[in-house]
């Protein structure tokens, strides 16, 4: 058996699942969004569903809310992960324990975390009860609304809590690969700690940080269960709105639900393309770094 045939046969099971199930499902969703659902008698392609959702204020509000959730979660998680990485790369007493605790919630499912947020931060949750016993509030309604609120604070809290170690682990790994050499050289050439960080370390970390952030953004934009559990009724995050349309009694809503799903999928695909670009740039950076002497520096190191 020739080499290409062997490779193809070995890959066939995985390809079957990916192409058959995943892309097959995506294709069916695309067809439905274009109005092609022969099982209920719709046999003509049309962009009616897309026109309907793009002209609907509900869709716009849900899109903006999802974007706000994704952007805020990603930004906060990335900044905190960077800070955590800077702290954790040094040796200090108890570092192993702190590192372990830092990564512990990687294994906790999102739903469990969401229920934890509910228990802690709802207006009748643990913190509210603490505040009540300290006499700070007199009724549940006086505790600030962090869950089911229009700013999605509870949702962002949950995503930051969960994605922080995800980005943090990647940042830490990158820092370990880079080592302390570049900063040491920069410092020895007279850069302050801030300049060494801003002009040497940060650009080196940027591709890794950005690629992880892009994944987090795509995930939080398309996540359904957290906004469904912790979100306000209106406006609902985009995946929640899509699901509501999907289960609507009015059949005209189903192509619209699929159209929303395709919009989410397109956004995620865009994010993946960005991710690949950053990863390629990161690989190029590392390759160049290992070939060149550290003295000749990197782009952005002040040359």
């Amino acid at each position: 058996m020739s080499e290409p045939v062997k490779i193809f046969l070995l890959l066939a099971p995985a390809l079957l699942v990916i192409i058959g199930l995943f892309f097959g499902g995506l294709l069916v969703g695309l067809l439905h969004s274009l109005g092609y659902m022969p099982v209920i008698g719709l046999e003509r392609f049309s962009l009616q569903a897309y026109r309907a959702i793009f002209s609907s204020p509900d869709f716009l509000r849900s899109f903006l809310l999802s974007f706000h959730i994704a952007f805020s979660s990603t930004l906060i998680a990335a900044l905190l992960a960077l800070a955590a990485g800077l702290l954790l790369r040094r040796q200090f007493l108890g570092r192993k324990l702190i590192s372990f605790l830092f990564q512990l919630n990687l294994t906790v499912p999102h739903l469990v975390g969401a229920i934890g947020i509910l228990y802690l931060f709802s207006q009748s949750g643990s913190f509210a009860r603490l505040a009540y016993s300290w006499g700070l509030i007199a009724a549940p309604a006086e505790f600030p609304a962090l869950i089911f609120d229009p700013y999605a604070i509870g949702i962002i809290l949950q995503f930051v809590w969960k994605e922080l170690p995800f980005i943090g682990v990647i940042v830490l790994a990158n820092m370990q690969v880079l080592g302390a050499d570049y900063e040491a050289v920069a410092r020895s050439l007279g850069a302050s700690r801030w300049q060494a960080f801003r002009f040497v370390l940060l650009p080196l970390l940027a591709p890794g940080l950005l690629s992880a952030s892009v994944i987090v953004f795509a995930f939080t934009f398309g996540a359904y269960e957290i906004p469904a559990l912790l979100g306000a009724h209106y406006p609902a995050a985009l995946p929640v709105l899509a699901y509501r349309h999907y289960t609507d009694i009015d059949l005209a809503a189903r192509p619209e639900a699929m159209a929303m799903a395709i919009v989410i999928a397109l956004l995620s695909a865009g994010m993946i393309a960005l991710y690949l670009r950053f990863v390629r740039r990161q690989l190029a950076t590392h390759k160049r770094g290992s070939q060149m002497a550290p003295f000749t520096g990197q782009p952005g190191a002040g040359h």
């Binding site: 709802s122 009748s124 306000a232 009724h233 009694i249 059949l251």
Partner: protein, 411 residues
């Protein structure tokens, strides 16, 4: 909720012009109906019945598989196969698919637990075996003069299904936090304004949130009488405009100032259990007792009904037109309707479901048992609720009300 709404719309498209009900009766059905009950029982012996029903309650599953299944096996040598589903529309979908592929005999399903839009879908599409009411000996226990039994969400049963249980909407409050709850809809609306942020309701199309909005709808219309019957756009618009204005005016006094609503009745139950709101409600009043027993609700909770009535409905079992063992399915239905089975179901530690038969038509022994039934002290007695029972509207009204709420109040 997904598939049955999907199917409801299919049939709106496809069978819009089909006025009269399509009674699906094969020649074999006519022969079956000519037999005596003893002959039907003999034919049913040794058979297998596949019963599709909502599987979300362990208590119900145990009752059907254990108690009912045991009697069928011991008395009739019938094997009962219980299939739990999450949405009755799935079962309707199976029968519909079988009819469309020409499977008119030997279908997969023999019995379905059903009501409302799903029953209407099946009846309109000719998916139901009808006309056997008189054959069931226990049919005499059912009061078919009661319009809430003779009609399923406004659709006449017309001998196409057998009643099984009744539910009726009821409220509950915490006696330790509230001395006297509002006991009528008007009193409730005033109470909400006088006690801001102590009340909310789940957003439709949640089943319980939807029925609460329908109560307000009835209140604005001055009663359900003119709303019964097929959907009337003008009647709807008149009442709906006032209802939405009322509900929007209520928003500043609701939980979270009405800026958001709980998305399900489970969320509302959590709010009540955590003392964020003072009132909770449910189609199934027995749930108050269940929640008190498992520690979710405060033990001082107490259920109550409204003086101007609450909405109740009956649920049924149907035999699909292509059931492979109609005789055995009839035997099962007769057993479900029997006084013994209805009593067992009514016991609060088994299920606590309200009986659908007239207990004074049963044997004196069973009557005494029914009378001695101890309900959980916190649960409002079904008989008390039944004194003010309001009927359900037809499915088309319900859909319009839900859509109207989402467009006018829910955003």
């Amino acid at each position: 909720m997904a598939l049955h709404r999907f199917l409801f719309s299919i049939l709106l498209f496809l069978t819009f012009a089909a006025g009269p009900v399509a009674r699906a009766q094969t020649p074999a059905d006519a022969d079956l109906l000519n037999l005596s009950w003893e002959q039907i029982e003999a034919q049913a012996r040794g058979g297998e019945v596949t019963f599709f029903l909502w599987g979300g309650s362990d208590a119900i599953n145990r009752y059907v598989s254990g108690y009912i299944g045991g009697i069928l096996r011991d008395r009739y040598d019938i094997t009962l196969r219980r299939v739990g589903i999450s949405d009755t529309a799935a079962a309707v979908n199976i029968v519909l698919g079988e009819k469309q592929s020409g499977v008119t005999e030997g279908g997969a399903i023999d019995l379905i637990w059903i009501n409302g839009e799903n029953f209407r879908t099946m009846k309109q599409a000719g998916l139901v075996f009808c006309g056997y009411q008189e054959k069931l000996p226990n049919n005499r226990l059912v009061n078919w003069d009661n319009p809430s039994i003779a009609n399923d969400f406004g659709v006449p049963v017309a001998g196409c299904s057998t009643p099984w249980s009744k539910v009726q909407f009821a409220f509950a409050y915490d006696q330790a936090r509230l001395s006297e709850p509002p006991r009528s809809m008007a009193a409730l609306l005033d109470w909400i304004k006088a006690n801001p942020r102590q009340f909310t309701y789940p957003a439709p199309p949640d089943f319980n949130g939807s029925v609460f909005v329908r109560h307000v709808f009835y209140h604005v219309a001055g009663g359900p009488e003119q709303l019964l019957g097929p959907f009337d756009q003008q009647k709807f618009d008149r009442v709906a405009d006032k209802t939405w204005a009322l509900l929007k005016g209520l928003e500043p006094y609701l939980w979270r100032k009405g800026r958001t609503y709980p998305t399900s009745v489970q969320a509302l139950e959590q709010l009540y259990a955590n003392s964020e709101v003072a009132l909770v409600f449910n189609y199934e009043p027995a749930s108050v007792g269940v929640f008190i027993e498992n520690g979710t609700f405060p033990p001082t909770s107490k259920g109550y009904g409204l003086s101007d009535g609450t909405i109740g409905n009956t649920n049924y079992t149907v035999i699909p037109f292509n059931s492979s063992n109609k005789a055995a399915a009839l035997v099962v239905q007769n057993l479900l309707l029997s006084a013994e089975a209805q009593y067992e179901k009514a016991r609060p530690e088994i299920w606590g479901a309200q009986t659908v038969i007239e207990t004074d038509r049963a044997e004196p022994v069973m009557q005494a048992k029914f009378a001695a039934l101890k309900q959980h002290p916190a649960v409002v007695p079904a008989a008390e609720l039944a004194r003010n029972a309001l009927p359900e509207l037809q499915a088309s009204w319900i859909v319009a009300i839900e859509k109207g709420w989402l467009a006018n109040v829910g955003n």
